[in-house]
Symmetry: C2
Amino acid sequence: MDAPRPELLSLNTATVREKWNLAQMIEGCARHGIRGISLWRDKLDELGAAEAAHMIRAHGLTVTGLCRGGMFPATDQAGREASIRDNLKAIDDAATIGARCLVLVVGGLPAGSKDIAGARAQVRDGIAAILPAACAAKVPLAIEPLHPMYAADRACVNTLRQALDLCAVLGDGVGVAVDVYHVWWDPELEDQIARAGREKRLLAYHICDWLVPTTDLLLDRGMMGDGVIDLPRIRGWVEGAGYAGSHEVEIFSAGNWWKRDPDEVLEVIIQRYASCT
Amino acid sequence: MDAPRPELLSLNTATVREKWNLAQMIEGCARHGIRGISLWRDKLDELGAAEAAHMIRAHGLTVTGLCRGGMFPATDQAGREASIRDNLKAIDDAATIGARCLVLVVGGLPAGSKDIAGARAQVRDGIAAILPAACAAKVPLAIEPLHPMYAADRACVNTLRQALDLCAVLGDGVGVAVDVYHVWWDPELEDQIARAGREKRLLAYHICDWLVPTTDLLLDRGMMGDGVIDLPRIRGWVEGAGYAGSHEVEIFSAGNWWKRDPDEVLEVIIQRYASCT
Protein backbone atom coordinates (compact mmCIF):
# COMPACT_ATOMS: atom_id res chain seq x y z
CA MET A 1 0.00 0.00 0.00
CA ASP A 2 1.18 3.52 -0.76
CA ALA A 3 2.14 5.88 2.05
CA PRO A 4 -0.46 8.45 3.08
CA ARG A 5 -0.20 11.59 0.96
CA PRO A 6 0.58 14.74 2.96
CA GLU A 7 -1.67 16.87 0.79
CA LEU A 8 -4.68 14.86 2.02
CA LEU A 9 -4.10 15.66 5.69
CA SER A 10 -6.80 17.84 7.21
CA LEU A 11 -7.13 19.27 10.70
CA ASN A 12 -10.45 18.97 12.41
CA THR A 13 -10.23 22.01 14.60
CA ALA A 14 -11.80 20.23 17.59
CA THR A 15 -8.28 18.86 18.04
CA VAL A 16 -6.95 22.28 19.08
CA ARG A 17 -10.14 23.84 20.32
CA GLU A 18 -9.02 24.70 23.83
CA LYS A 19 -6.11 27.01 23.04
CA TRP A 20 -6.71 28.50 19.59
CA ASN A 21 -9.43 30.67 18.13
CA LEU A 22 -10.50 30.21 14.52
CA ALA A 23 -8.03 32.73 13.10
CA GLN A 24 -5.19 30.95 14.89
CA MET A 25 -6.41 27.60 13.58
CA ILE A 26 -6.42 28.83 9.99
CA GLU A 27 -3.01 30.45 10.33
CA GLY A 28 -1.68 27.37 12.14
CA CYS A 29 -2.71 25.00 9.36
CA ALA A 30 -1.12 27.23 6.75
CA ARG A 31 2.07 27.61 8.80
CA HIS A 32 2.47 23.84 9.22
CA GLY A 33 1.61 23.02 5.63
CA ILE A 34 -1.67 21.31 6.47
CA ARG A 35 -3.88 21.96 3.47
CA GLY A 36 -7.29 20.92 4.77
CA ILE A 37 -9.34 22.23 7.66
CA SER A 38 -12.64 21.14 9.12
CA LEU A 39 -14.50 23.60 11.29
CA TRP A 40 -16.92 23.50 14.19
CA ARG A 41 -19.75 25.97 14.22
CA ASP A 42 -18.99 27.51 17.60
CA LYS A 43 -15.60 28.58 16.29
CA LEU A 44 -17.04 29.63 12.93
CA ASP A 45 -19.29 32.04 14.77
CA GLU A 46 -16.22 33.87 16.09
CA LEU A 47 -15.59 35.34 12.64
CA GLY A 48 -18.85 34.67 10.88
CA ALA A 49 -19.02 32.49 7.80
CA ALA A 50 -18.22 35.20 5.24
CA GLU A 51 -15.13 36.50 7.02
CA ALA A 52 -13.97 32.95 7.79
CA ALA A 53 -14.41 31.99 4.14
CA HIS A 54 -12.31 34.96 3.08
CA MET A 55 -9.54 34.11 5.51
CA ILE A 56 -9.55 30.40 4.61
CA ARG A 57 -9.27 31.22 0.90
CA ALA A 58 -6.51 33.71 1.56
CA HIS A 59 -4.53 30.93 3.25
CA GLY A 60 -5.17 28.43 0.46
CA LEU A 61 -6.98 25.89 2.61
CA THR A 62 -9.65 23.41 1.59
CA VAL A 63 -12.62 23.11 3.96
CA THR A 64 -13.11 19.37 4.27
CA GLY A 65 -16.19 19.62 6.44
CA LEU A 66 -18.37 21.67 8.73
CA CYS A 67 -19.25 20.12 12.10
CA ARG A 68 -22.02 19.77 12.79
CA GLY A 69 -25.62 19.57 11.78
CA GLY A 70 -28.00 16.96 13.13
CA MET A 71 -29.51 16.58 16.61
CA PHE A 72 -32.93 15.99 15.07
CA PRO A 73 -34.93 14.12 17.73
CA ALA A 74 -36.90 16.27 20.16
CA THR A 75 -39.74 15.78 22.58
CA ASP A 76 -42.19 17.87 20.59
CA GLN A 77 -42.88 19.41 17.20
CA ALA A 78 -41.53 22.81 18.22
CA GLY A 79 -38.22 21.19 19.18
CA ARG A 80 -38.01 19.35 15.88
CA GLU A 81 -38.75 22.53 13.95
CA ALA A 82 -36.06 24.42 15.85
CA SER A 83 -33.62 21.68 14.89
CA ILE A 84 -34.60 21.98 11.23
CA ARG A 85 -34.02 25.74 11.30
CA ASP A 86 -30.63 25.25 12.90
CA ASN A 87 -29.68 22.71 10.25
CA LEU A 88 -30.76 25.05 7.45
CA LYS A 89 -28.48 27.71 8.94
CA ALA A 90 -25.65 25.17 9.02
CA ILE A 91 -26.24 24.36 5.35
CA ASP A 92 -26.02 28.06 4.49
CA ASP A 93 -22.78 28.43 6.43
CA ALA A 94 -21.32 25.28 4.88
CA ALA A 95 -22.07 26.68 1.43
CA THR A 96 -20.54 30.05 2.31
CA ILE A 97 -17.26 28.52 3.46
CA GLY A 98 -17.22 26.00 0.62
CA ALA A 99 -17.28 22.96 2.90
CA ARG A 100 -17.13 19.65 1.09
CA CYS A 101 -19.84 18.33 3.39
CA LEU A 102 -21.93 19.12 6.43
CA VAL A 103 -21.29 16.44 9.04
CA LEU A 104 -24.44 15.24 10.78
CA VAL A 105 -24.31 14.01 14.36
CA VAL A 106 -27.89 12.92 14.23
CA GLY A 107 -28.92 13.07 17.88
CA GLY A 108 -29.98 10.51 20.46
CA LEU A 109 -33.05 9.93 22.56
CA PRO A 110 -35.20 12.94 23.41
CA ALA A 111 -35.25 13.69 27.15
CA GLY A 112 -37.28 11.09 29.01
CA SER A 113 -37.66 8.78 26.02
CA LYS A 114 -36.69 5.10 25.79
CA ASP A 115 -37.90 4.80 22.19
CA ILE A 116 -34.76 4.44 20.11
CA ALA A 117 -36.70 3.25 17.09
CA GLY A 118 -38.77 6.40 17.32
CA ALA A 119 -35.65 8.54 17.59
CA ARG A 120 -34.29 6.87 14.48
CA ALA A 121 -37.50 7.66 12.62
CA GLN A 122 -37.18 11.30 13.69
CA VAL A 123 -33.64 11.35 12.34
CA ARG A 124 -34.80 10.01 8.99
CA ASP A 125 -37.58 12.59 8.81
CA GLY A 126 -35.28 15.41 9.88
CA ILE A 127 -32.70 14.69 7.23
CA ALA A 128 -35.44 14.33 4.62
CA ALA A 129 -36.70 17.78 5.61
CA ILE A 130 -33.36 19.52 5.07
CA LEU A 131 -32.18 17.51 2.09
CA PRO A 132 -33.78 19.71 -0.60
CA ALA A 133 -32.02 22.78 0.82
CA ALA A 134 -28.73 20.89 1.01
CA CYS A 135 -29.03 19.76 -2.60
CA ALA A 136 -29.92 23.26 -3.75
CA ALA A 137 -26.87 24.64 -1.90
CA LYS A 138 -24.69 21.81 -3.24
CA VAL A 139 -23.73 20.84 0.31
CA PRO A 140 -23.60 17.03 0.68
CA LEU A 141 -24.86 15.81 4.04
CA ALA A 142 -22.50 13.34 5.73
CA ILE A 143 -24.23 11.10 8.26
CA GLU A 144 -21.62 10.13 10.83
CA PRO A 145 -22.39 6.84 12.56
CA LEU A 146 -21.26 7.32 16.14
CA HIS A 147 -19.93 4.64 18.45
CA PRO A 148 -22.76 2.73 20.14
CA MET A 149 -21.72 4.17 23.51
CA TYR A 150 -23.23 7.46 22.26
CA ALA A 151 -26.56 5.96 21.16
CA ALA A 152 -28.54 7.46 24.03
CA ASP A 153 -27.22 10.99 24.14
CA ARG A 154 -25.52 11.91 20.86
CA ALA A 155 -26.39 9.78 17.87
CA CYS A 156 -28.75 6.86 17.40
CA VAL A 157 -27.11 5.99 14.07
CA ASN A 158 -24.39 3.64 15.28
CA THR A 159 -23.05 1.48 12.47
CA LEU A 160 -21.97 2.10 8.93
CA ARG A 161 -24.53 -0.43 7.72
CA GLN A 162 -27.29 1.49 9.45
CA ALA A 163 -26.08 4.81 8.03
CA LEU A 164 -25.92 3.40 4.51
CA ASP A 165 -29.37 1.86 4.85
CA LEU A 166 -30.58 5.32 5.85
CA CYS A 167 -28.86 6.89 2.85
CA ALA A 168 -30.58 4.38 0.59
CA VAL A 169 -33.96 5.49 1.93
CA LEU A 170 -33.10 9.19 1.56
CA GLY A 171 -31.66 9.18 -1.96
CA ASP A 172 -29.15 11.58 -3.48
CA GLY A 173 -27.34 14.34 -1.63
CA VAL A 174 -26.49 12.34 1.46
CA GLY A 175 -23.59 10.07 2.35
CA VAL A 176 -21.44 9.02 5.30
CA ALA A 177 -18.51 10.26 7.33
CA VAL A 178 -16.35 7.32 8.41
CA ASP A 179 -14.56 8.07 11.67
CA VAL A 180 -12.31 5.23 12.76
CA TYR A 181 -12.99 5.94 16.43
CA HIS A 182 -16.64 5.08 15.98
CA VAL A 183 -16.41 2.11 13.63
CA TRP A 184 -13.05 0.37 14.12
CA TRP A 185 -14.60 -2.45 16.18
CA ASP A 186 -17.29 -3.35 13.63
CA PRO A 187 -16.96 -6.89 12.26
CA GLU A 188 -18.69 -5.68 9.08
CA LEU A 189 -16.43 -2.68 8.59
CA GLU A 190 -14.53 -3.87 5.53
CA ASP A 191 -17.71 -4.95 3.76
CA GLN A 192 -19.62 -1.80 4.60
CA ILE A 193 -16.78 0.50 3.52
CA ALA A 194 -16.71 -1.33 0.19
CA ARG A 195 -20.47 -0.93 -0.04
CA ALA A 196 -20.18 2.79 0.74
CA GLY A 197 -17.79 3.11 -2.16
CA ARG A 198 -20.03 1.22 -4.56
CA GLU A 199 -22.99 3.34 -3.54
CA LYS A 200 -21.02 6.61 -3.88
CA ARG A 201 -21.61 7.57 -0.27
CA LEU A 202 -18.08 8.10 1.09
CA LEU A 203 -17.90 11.79 1.92
CA ALA A 204 -15.36 12.04 4.73
CA TYR A 205 -12.71 10.03 6.57
CA HIS A 206 -11.74 10.92 10.15
CA ILE A 207 -8.80 9.49 12.05
CA CYS A 208 -7.48 9.28 15.61
CA ASP A 209 -6.96 6.23 17.85
CA TRP A 210 -8.69 4.15 20.54
CA LEU A 211 -6.72 4.10 23.78
CA VAL A 212 -6.50 1.14 26.15
CA PRO A 213 -7.67 1.91 28.74
CA THR A 214 -10.11 4.62 27.70
CA THR A 215 -10.85 6.71 30.78
CA ASP A 216 -13.67 8.92 29.53
CA LEU A 217 -16.46 8.12 27.10
CA LEU A 218 -16.17 11.43 25.26
CA LEU A 219 -12.86 13.19 25.80
CA ASP A 220 -10.16 10.52 25.83
CA ARG A 221 -9.38 9.88 22.19
CA GLY A 222 -5.83 9.04 21.24
CA MET A 223 -3.32 10.34 18.73
CA MET A 224 -2.77 8.04 15.76
CA GLY A 225 -0.34 5.33 16.80
CA ASP A 226 -1.07 5.48 20.52
CA GLY A 227 -3.97 3.03 20.45
CA VAL A 228 -5.21 -0.22 18.95
CA ILE A 229 -6.78 0.84 15.65
CA ASP A 230 -5.14 -0.65 12.56
CA LEU A 231 -5.16 2.64 10.66
CA PRO A 232 -3.22 1.55 7.57
CA ARG A 233 -5.63 -1.35 7.07
CA ILE A 234 -8.72 0.82 7.33
CA ARG A 235 -7.17 3.46 5.04
CA GLY A 236 -6.56 0.67 2.55
CA TRP A 237 -10.23 -0.26 2.65
CA VAL A 238 -11.33 3.36 2.30
CA GLU A 239 -8.98 4.11 -0.58
CA GLY A 240 -9.81 0.75 -2.13
CA ALA A 241 -13.44 1.82 -2.11
CA GLY A 242 -12.52 4.81 -4.26
CA TYR A 243 -12.30 7.51 -1.62
CA ALA A 244 -9.87 10.22 -2.73
CA GLY A 245 -10.73 12.94 -0.21
CA SER A 246 -9.00 14.21 2.88
CA HIS A 247 -7.99 12.39 6.04
CA GLU A 248 -9.23 14.51 8.89
CA VAL A 249 -7.59 14.31 12.31
CA GLU A 250 -10.18 14.76 15.05
CA ILE A 251 -9.02 14.21 18.64
CA PHE A 252 -11.12 15.01 21.68
CA SER A 253 -8.60 14.78 24.48
CA ALA A 254 -9.25 16.87 27.56
CA GLY A 255 -6.50 15.24 29.59
CA ASN A 256 -3.67 15.28 27.07
CA TRP A 257 -3.70 16.86 23.61
CA TRP A 258 -6.01 19.73 24.46
CA LYS A 259 -3.58 20.78 27.17
CA ARG A 260 -0.58 21.01 24.88
CA ASP A 261 0.74 23.82 22.73
CA PRO A 262 -1.23 23.51 19.47
CA ASP A 263 1.92 24.02 17.41
CA GLU A 264 3.36 20.92 19.07
CA VAL A 265 0.10 19.03 18.45
CA LEU A 266 0.23 19.88 14.75
CA GLU A 267 3.84 18.72 14.50
CA VAL A 268 2.96 15.40 16.11
CA ILE A 269 -0.06 15.00 13.83
CA ILE A 270 2.10 15.48 10.74
CA GLN A 271 4.65 12.94 11.99
CA ARG A 272 2.07 10.35 13.03
CA TYR A 273 0.05 10.80 9.87
CA ALA A 274 3.12 9.83 7.90
CA SER A 275 4.25 6.97 10.14
CA CYS A 276 1.09 5.46 11.63
CA THR A 277 -1.79 5.81 9.19
CA MET B 1 -47.66 -8.49 27.22
CA ASP B 2 -47.70 -10.46 30.45
CA ALA B 3 -45.95 -9.16 33.55
CA PRO B 4 -42.53 -10.62 34.30
CA ARG B 5 -42.84 -13.80 36.35
CA PRO B 6 -41.12 -13.58 39.76
CA GLU B 7 -39.95 -17.18 39.60
CA LEU B 8 -37.77 -16.27 36.60
CA LEU B 9 -35.78 -13.63 38.47
CA SER B 10 -32.14 -14.52 39.00
CA LEU B 11 -29.39 -12.66 40.79
CA ASN B 12 -26.07 -12.38 39.08
CA THR B 13 -23.87 -12.16 42.12
CA ALA B 14 -21.63 -9.49 40.59
CA THR B 15 -24.44 -7.16 41.65
CA VAL B 16 -23.62 -7.64 45.35
CA ARG B 17 -20.00 -8.63 45.03
CA GLU B 18 -18.48 -5.95 47.23
CA LYS B 19 -20.26 -6.70 50.50
CA TRP B 20 -21.27 -10.38 50.44
CA ASN B 21 -19.34 -13.60 50.21
CA LEU B 22 -20.80 -16.56 48.32
CA ALA B 23 -22.53 -18.06 51.33
CA GLN B 24 -24.22 -14.75 52.05
CA MET B 25 -25.28 -14.47 48.41
CA ILE B 26 -26.90 -17.90 48.47
CA GLU B 27 -28.63 -17.24 51.77
CA GLY B 28 -29.67 -13.79 50.60
CA CYS B 29 -31.37 -15.08 47.45
CA ALA B 30 -33.25 -17.69 49.45
CA ARG B 31 -34.26 -15.17 52.10
CA HIS B 32 -35.65 -12.74 49.50
CA GLY B 33 -37.39 -15.43 47.46
CA ILE B 34 -35.10 -15.05 44.46
CA ARG B 35 -34.98 -18.53 42.94
CA GLY B 36 -32.09 -18.20 40.49
CA ILE B 37 -28.45 -17.37 41.07
CA SER B 38 -25.56 -16.83 38.68
CA LEU B 39 -22.06 -17.11 40.07
CA TRP B 40 -18.66 -15.66 39.34
CA ARG B 41 -15.68 -17.94 39.64
CA ASP B 42 -13.74 -15.84 42.14
CA LYS B 43 -16.61 -16.19 44.59
CA LEU B 44 -17.10 -19.85 43.72
CA ASP B 45 -13.52 -20.47 44.78
CA GLU B 46 -14.37 -19.29 48.29
CA LEU B 47 -16.31 -22.49 48.93
CA GLY B 48 -15.14 -24.71 46.10
CA ALA B 49 -17.58 -26.02 43.52
CA ALA B 50 -18.69 -29.12 45.45
CA GLU B 51 -19.47 -27.29 48.69
CA ALA B 52 -21.14 -24.45 46.76
CA ALA B 53 -23.27 -26.96 44.85
CA HIS B 54 -24.36 -28.56 48.11
CA MET B 55 -25.30 -25.24 49.66
CA ILE B 56 -27.14 -24.04 46.53
CA ARG B 57 -29.19 -27.24 46.40
CA ALA B 58 -29.94 -27.02 50.09
CA HIS B 59 -31.42 -23.56 49.49
CA GLY B 60 -33.46 -24.67 46.50
CA LEU B 61 -31.80 -22.32 44.00
CA THR B 62 -31.30 -22.80 40.27
CA VAL B 63 -27.85 -21.87 38.93
CA THR B 64 -28.66 -19.87 35.82
CA GLY B 65 -25.03 -19.42 34.76
CA LEU B 66 -21.39 -19.48 35.69
CA CYS B 67 -19.36 -16.37 34.82
CA ARG B 68 -17.05 -16.65 33.14
CA GLY B 69 -15.03 -18.63 30.65
CA GLY B 70 -13.47 -17.07 27.59
CA MET B 71 -10.49 -14.72 27.33
CA PHE B 72 -9.08 -16.82 24.50
CA PRO B 73 -6.73 -14.49 22.55
CA ALA B 74 -3.13 -14.42 23.69
CA THR B 75 0.18 -13.31 22.29
CA ASP B 76 1.59 -16.82 22.03
CA GLN B 77 0.69 -20.49 21.97
CA ALA B 78 1.49 -20.96 25.65
CA GLY B 79 -0.96 -18.21 26.54
CA ARG B 80 -3.66 -19.76 24.38
CA GLU B 81 -3.10 -23.17 25.95
CA ALA B 82 -3.31 -21.69 29.44
CA SER B 83 -6.64 -20.16 28.48
CA ILE B 84 -7.93 -23.51 27.23
CA ARG B 85 -6.95 -25.18 30.51
CA ASP B 86 -8.70 -22.48 32.48
CA ASN B 87 -11.83 -22.88 30.39
CA LEU B 88 -11.83 -26.65 30.89
CA LYS B 89 -11.67 -26.06 34.63
CA ALA B 90 -14.61 -23.67 34.31
CA ILE B 91 -16.60 -26.32 32.42
CA ASP B 92 -15.93 -28.82 35.22
CA ASP B 93 -17.05 -26.34 37.84
CA ALA B 94 -20.16 -25.41 35.84
CA ALA B 95 -21.08 -29.07 35.65
CA THR B 96 -20.49 -29.57 39.36
CA ILE B 97 -22.80 -26.72 40.35
CA GLY B 98 -25.37 -27.61 37.68
CA ALA B 99 -25.09 -24.28 35.88
CA ARG B 100 -27.44 -23.93 32.92
CA CYS B 101 -24.59 -22.43 30.92
CA LEU B 102 -21.01 -21.22 31.09
CA VAL B 103 -20.94 -17.58 30.02
CA LEU B 104 -18.05 -16.73 27.71
CA VAL B 105 -16.53 -13.26 27.73
CA VAL B 106 -14.35 -14.08 24.79
CA GLY B 107 -11.44 -11.69 25.24
CA GLY B 108 -10.10 -8.74 23.26
CA LEU B 109 -6.84 -7.91 21.57
CA PRO B 110 -3.69 -9.57 22.89
CA ALA B 111 -1.24 -7.07 24.38
CA GLY B 112 0.39 -5.00 21.66
CA SER B 113 -1.87 -6.27 18.90
CA LYS B 114 -4.02 -4.22 16.54
CA ASP B 115 -5.33 -7.28 14.69
CA ILE B 116 -8.95 -7.59 15.71
CA ALA B 117 -9.71 -10.03 12.90
CA GLY B 118 -6.90 -12.21 14.22
CA ALA B 119 -8.28 -12.00 17.76
CA ARG B 120 -11.67 -13.06 16.46
CA ALA B 121 -10.11 -16.07 14.76
CA GLN B 122 -8.42 -17.00 18.04
CA VAL B 123 -11.79 -16.80 19.79
CA ARG B 124 -13.34 -19.14 17.23
CA ASP B 125 -10.48 -21.60 17.60
CA GLY B 126 -10.53 -21.39 21.39
CA ILE B 127 -14.22 -22.16 21.64
CA ALA B 128 -13.84 -24.99 19.14
CA ALA B 129 -11.09 -26.45 21.34
CA ILE B 130 -13.25 -26.57 24.48
CA LEU B 131 -16.57 -27.44 22.84
CA PRO B 132 -16.15 -31.24 22.96
CA ALA B 133 -15.52 -31.09 26.71
CA ALA B 134 -18.50 -28.79 27.18
CA CYS B 135 -20.77 -31.13 25.24
CA ALA B 136 -19.51 -34.14 27.18
CA ALA B 137 -20.21 -32.33 30.44
CA LYS B 138 -23.59 -31.13 29.16
CA VAL B 139 -22.60 -27.51 29.85
CA PRO B 140 -23.84 -25.22 27.07
CA LEU B 141 -21.42 -22.41 26.22
CA ALA B 142 -23.06 -18.99 26.09
CA ILE B 143 -21.14 -16.49 23.98
CA GLU B 144 -21.92 -13.04 25.37
CA PRO B 145 -21.54 -10.29 22.81
CA LEU B 146 -20.13 -7.34 24.73
CA HIS B 147 -20.74 -3.67 23.99
CA PRO B 148 -18.36 -2.37 21.30
CA MET B 149 -16.67 -0.14 23.87
CA TYR B 150 -15.10 -3.34 25.25
CA ALA B 151 -13.83 -4.62 21.89
CA ALA B 152 -10.19 -3.87 22.64
CA ASP B 153 -9.82 -5.14 26.16
CA ARG B 154 -12.64 -7.55 27.03
CA ALA B 155 -14.48 -9.09 24.12
CA CYS B 156 -14.07 -8.80 20.37
CA VAL B 157 -17.50 -10.34 19.79
CA ASN B 158 -19.64 -7.22 19.84
CA THR B 159 -23.02 -7.81 18.24
CA LEU B 160 -25.63 -10.51 18.46
CA ARG B 161 -25.36 -11.06 14.71
CA GLN B 162 -21.64 -11.68 15.05
CA ALA B 163 -22.16 -14.07 17.97
CA LEU B 164 -24.82 -16.03 16.08
CA ASP B 165 -22.63 -16.20 12.99
CA LEU B 166 -19.92 -17.64 15.22
CA CYS B 167 -22.36 -20.18 16.69
CA ALA B 168 -23.28 -21.26 13.18
CA VAL B 169 -19.64 -21.99 12.43
CA LEU B 170 -19.15 -23.88 15.70
CA GLY B 171 -22.25 -26.10 15.64
CA ASP B 172 -24.12 -27.62 18.58
CA GLY B 173 -23.38 -26.96 22.24
CA VAL B 174 -22.94 -23.22 21.94
CA GLY B 175 -25.38 -20.31 22.06
CA VAL B 176 -25.62 -16.72 23.22
CA ALA B 177 -26.18 -14.72 26.39
CA VAL B 178 -28.19 -11.59 25.61
CA ASP B 179 -27.36 -8.79 28.04
CA VAL B 180 -29.40 -5.68 27.40
CA TYR B 181 -26.53 -3.43 28.49
CA HIS B 182 -24.42 -4.64 25.60
CA VAL B 183 -27.00 -4.86 22.83
CA TRP B 184 -29.80 -2.38 23.55
CA TRP B 185 -28.50 0.12 20.96
CA ASP B 186 -28.31 -2.37 18.09
CA PRO B 187 -30.63 -1.48 15.18
CA GLU B 188 -30.73 -5.19 14.32
CA LEU B 189 -31.61 -6.32 17.84
CA GLU B 190 -35.19 -7.40 17.24
CA ASP B 191 -34.27 -9.37 14.12
CA GLN B 192 -31.25 -11.02 15.68
CA ILE B 193 -33.14 -12.04 18.83
CA ALA B 194 -35.76 -13.65 16.62
CA ARG B 195 -32.99 -15.38 14.71
CA ALA B 196 -31.42 -16.60 17.96
CA GLY B 197 -34.74 -18.17 18.87
CA ARG B 198 -35.14 -19.86 15.50
CA GLU B 199 -31.63 -21.22 15.71
CA LYS B 200 -32.11 -22.46 19.30
CA ARG B 201 -29.25 -20.36 20.62
CA LEU B 202 -30.88 -18.30 23.40
CA LEU B 203 -29.20 -19.51 26.59
CA ALA B 204 -29.35 -16.53 28.95
CA TYR B 205 -30.96 -13.11 29.35
CA HIS B 206 -29.30 -10.45 31.51
CA ILE B 207 -30.88 -7.17 32.56
CA CYS B 208 -29.85 -3.83 34.04
CA ASP B 209 -30.05 -0.32 32.54
CA TRP B 210 -27.97 2.23 30.59
CA LEU B 211 -27.57 5.48 32.51
CA VAL B 212 -27.42 8.95 30.92
CA PRO B 213 -24.81 10.14 31.49
CA THR B 214 -22.63 7.06 31.94
CA THR B 215 -19.57 8.12 33.91
CA ASP B 216 -17.43 4.99 33.69
CA LEU B 217 -17.06 2.50 30.86
CA LEU B 218 -17.15 -0.54 33.15
CA LEU B 219 -18.63 0.16 36.57
CA ASP B 220 -21.55 2.54 36.02
CA ARG B 221 -24.46 0.32 35.07
CA GLY B 222 -27.91 1.29 36.23
CA MET B 223 -30.74 -0.46 38.05
CA MET B 224 -33.68 -1.37 35.83
CA GLY B 225 -35.83 1.72 35.39
CA ASP B 226 -33.09 4.26 36.02
CA GLY B 227 -31.87 4.44 32.42
CA VAL B 228 -33.01 4.49 28.81
CA ILE B 229 -33.37 0.82 27.89
CA ASP B 230 -36.88 -0.23 26.91
CA LEU B 231 -36.78 -3.41 28.99
CA PRO B 232 -40.39 -4.56 28.47
CA ARG B 233 -39.94 -4.30 24.70
CA ILE B 234 -36.75 -6.34 24.68
CA ARG B 235 -38.26 -8.93 27.04
CA GLY B 236 -41.14 -9.22 24.62
CA TRP B 237 -38.72 -9.96 21.80
CA VAL B 238 -36.82 -12.50 23.89
CA GLU B 239 -39.94 -14.29 25.08
CA GLY B 240 -41.43 -14.06 21.61
CA ALA B 241 -38.37 -15.91 20.37
CA GLY B 242 -39.23 -18.78 22.69
CA TYR B 243 -36.88 -18.04 25.57
CA ALA B 244 -38.33 -19.44 28.80
CA GLY B 245 -35.27 -19.18 31.05
CA SER B 246 -34.31 -16.81 33.82
CA HIS B 247 -33.88 -13.06 33.78
CA GLU B 248 -30.59 -12.38 35.44
CA VAL B 249 -29.88 -9.02 37.08
CA GLU B 250 -26.24 -8.05 36.62
CA ILE B 251 -25.23 -4.56 37.75
CA PHE B 252 -21.65 -3.37 37.94
CA SER B 253 -21.95 -0.15 39.90
CA ALA B 254 -18.96 0.92 41.95
CA GLY B 255 -20.39 4.33 42.76
CA ASN B 256 -23.90 3.37 43.78
CA TRP B 257 -25.32 -0.15 44.14
CA TRP B 258 -22.11 -1.81 45.26
CA LYS B 259 -21.95 0.65 48.15
CA ARG B 260 -25.40 -0.18 49.49
CA ASP B 261 -26.60 -2.84 51.89
CA PRO B 262 -27.15 -5.92 49.68
CA ASP B 263 -30.48 -6.66 51.37
CA GLU B 264 -31.68 -3.26 50.22
CA VAL B 265 -30.31 -3.93 46.72
CA LEU B 266 -32.24 -7.20 46.51
CA GLU B 267 -35.44 -5.49 47.63
CA VAL B 268 -35.06 -2.85 44.94
CA ILE B 269 -34.29 -5.50 42.33
CA ILE B 270 -37.50 -7.36 43.17
CA GLN B 271 -39.55 -4.16 42.98
CA ARG B 272 -37.98 -2.96 39.75
CA TYR B 273 -38.15 -6.37 38.13
CA ALA B 274 -41.90 -6.30 38.64
CA SER B 275 -42.45 -2.67 37.62
CA CYS B 276 -39.83 -1.87 34.99
CA THR B 277 -38.96 -4.96 33.00
